[in-house]
Amino acid sequence: MKRVYVNEDRCLGCHLCEYYCAFANSGETDMAKTFKLNRNPVPRITVESAGDVNFAVQCRQCAAHPCVKACITGALSFNSGVIQIDDSRCVGCYTCVMSCPYGCIVIDEKNNGKTITKCELCTRNAIGEPACVSGCINQAIVFEERGEN
């Protein structure tokens, strides 16, 4: 399965991936307007920075998917290698937030935390291919097969 991988050595901590992710999943068409008019787009990728170390973290689409198994409503499911959220069934209990070993489940501030959101490899938005990858200016993020299970 292709996954998004981050090369810590090449990450500058510029946060562009977060902007591209938020915009790609916002349903908006004008990137500048989306941010300037504060339509509160929510990124599903998180950049961690400390000193010289920077890297981005998003859902690993784990084969073991502890979040899916923990979900109390069945809103999370694992389909063809992608963990998806049906937010019409999410009640914002945050059991998945409690279960994700990488802290990749994002509390959706756009609706006051009533549901969660997460990286779905841009499979269900207009972009279709990970926006963080195409948006990264230093090729720190790649979308490829690395033989992981």
Partner: protein, 415 residues
């Protein structure tokens, strides 16, 4: 191979999924005393509140049984397990045979003997969808509601009923709310939060005597009510296994393949069982949905012939009341670090033996799973930057090698 499952909630569904990962053709029969498609029990309060429809309460898709080739026998109660004959007896006297049996019978509300309780017309427990439906029929704008029990169920019921403009009083014998998962400071913050929404608490007291529409408390106060919700506690449904000769303490005792001690080809999972809590090394009832599902899944795989062990059981809760969220996990014996912002954010991290043993997060609960993982896998604290972790859960606190393995598929970082 014929698999029979008594129960239709998280543990039962986990069992079905576990079996079907290994055995696509064996017959699976689910027997449930309720009439519904599997539904998420925690959602009954959300349904009562009006946040979810009955359809959205389904724990799995509508065609789940069909897709997984499962026969269902609803509104059917199992009265006996005949382990020598390998059958179960159901209410009408018929017997259903099994090769492998799963007991996923969950728990039932515990109603202690209370003087005068029989005089109360509108009394409810709060466990099943039918309970919530019964409450809905009685609740009205301004209803006076007395909730006995300030634990997880009682407070979720309060949250749902506040929506009806009900006048709610919650009482508990304990001197603080949610004593099973919170410490004193966190209980106090949550209590204050819920009180600010109009709910009244009377703690350190219980009902001395009920009349038809009032309760005299042991502290001398009297509370008027239109309805009473009894949420004192739950008891695992262990009777079938006990009668069949299986080992039962407070819950059904299984090995780590979920096989019931003392019986052959019989497994148990979920709220009816005891688990080994890896954070204390003690047997404990861990009535938590994720635990139920994972136990069921492990059991199902074992039942279908693949040896699988469930070794990670631990207490963990993610729940919100009136908009204030908490995530807790593990146990709280050890050295504690606490932090609060004086408002509603509270954090407690408990360490012992060079490991994180437990935590409480209230308010800001972002990325709590990073802490949970540390507890589950006994990660040594001296191999990470724990001071950094105290500020917030973050992968920055771990080594580059760790991140390389987890985030980069073990690939070298140079290209």
């Amino acid at each position: 191979m014929k698999y029979v499952i008594i129960g239709n909630s998280a543990a039962a569904i986990g069992t079905i999924q576990g079996i079907r990962q290994i055995d696509k053709t064996g017959q699976i029969v689910v027997i449930s005393d309720e009439k519904y498609h599997t539904y998420s029990r925690p959602l009954i309060s959300y349904w009562l509140k009006g946040d979810v429809t009955e359809e959205n309460m389904r724990y799995r898709d509508e065609d789940f049984y069909e897709k997984n080739d499962v026969d269902t026998l609803f509104e059917t109660r199992v009265t006996k397990i005949n382990s020598d004959k390998k059958t179960v007896t159901i209410k009408n006297g018929n017997e259903i045979s099994y090769d492998k049996l799963m007991v996923a019978t969950g728990s039932k509300p515990f109603v202690p003997p209370m003087e005068g309780l029989d005089k109360v017309k509108n009394k409810f427990t709060f466990m099943k969808l039918d309970d919530a439906k019964a409450v809905k029929e009685t609740a009205a704008e301004g209803s006076k509601v007395l909730i006995v029990g300030a634990g997880l169920i009682g407070l979720k019921a309060a949250e749902a009923l506040e929506h009806y403009g009900a006048d709610i009083t919650v009482i508990d014998l304990a001197d603080r709310i949610l004593p099973s998962i919170l410490d004193e400071e966190a209980s106090a913050i949550m209590q204050k939060h819920i009180e600010s929404k109009g709910v009244k608490f009377i703690l350190g007291t219980s009902v001395k005597e009920f009349s038809e529409s009032s309760a005299l408390l042991t502290n001398g106060e009297t509370v008027q009510f239109d309805m009473v919700i009894l949420a004192v506690g739950v008891r695992p449904n262990t009777e079938l296994i006990a009668e069949a000769g299986g080992k039962v303490n407070r819950g059904i005792v299984t090995d780590q393949k979920q096989a019931v001690h003392g019986l052959k080809d019989i497994y148990a999972a979920g709220d009816c069982t005891e688990s080994l809590d890896i954070t204390t090394g003690q047997q404990k009832i861990l009535a938590l949905l994720p635990n139920a599902f994972l136990q069921g899944e492990a059991a199902g795989q074992n039942m279908a012939g693949k040896e699988t062990y469930y070794l990670n059981a631990m207490p963990m809760n993610a729940i919100g009341f009136f908009g204030l969220h908490i995530i807790t996990a593990g146990s709280y014996e050890g050295e504690a670090y606490t932090e609060t912002d004086g408002a509603e954010n509270y954090k407690k991290l408990v360490t012992a033996d060079n490991e994180l043993k437990g935590f409480i997060l209230m308010g800001d609960v972002k990325r709590a799973g990073i802490y949970t993982y540390m507890i589950k896998w006994h990660m040594p604290i001296d191999e990470c930057d724990f001071e950094l972790l105290k500020t917030k859960p973050q992968l920055m606190a771990f080594s580059r090698e760790y991140r390389n393995e987890k985030l980069a598929g073990g690939y070298g970082n140079g290209d």
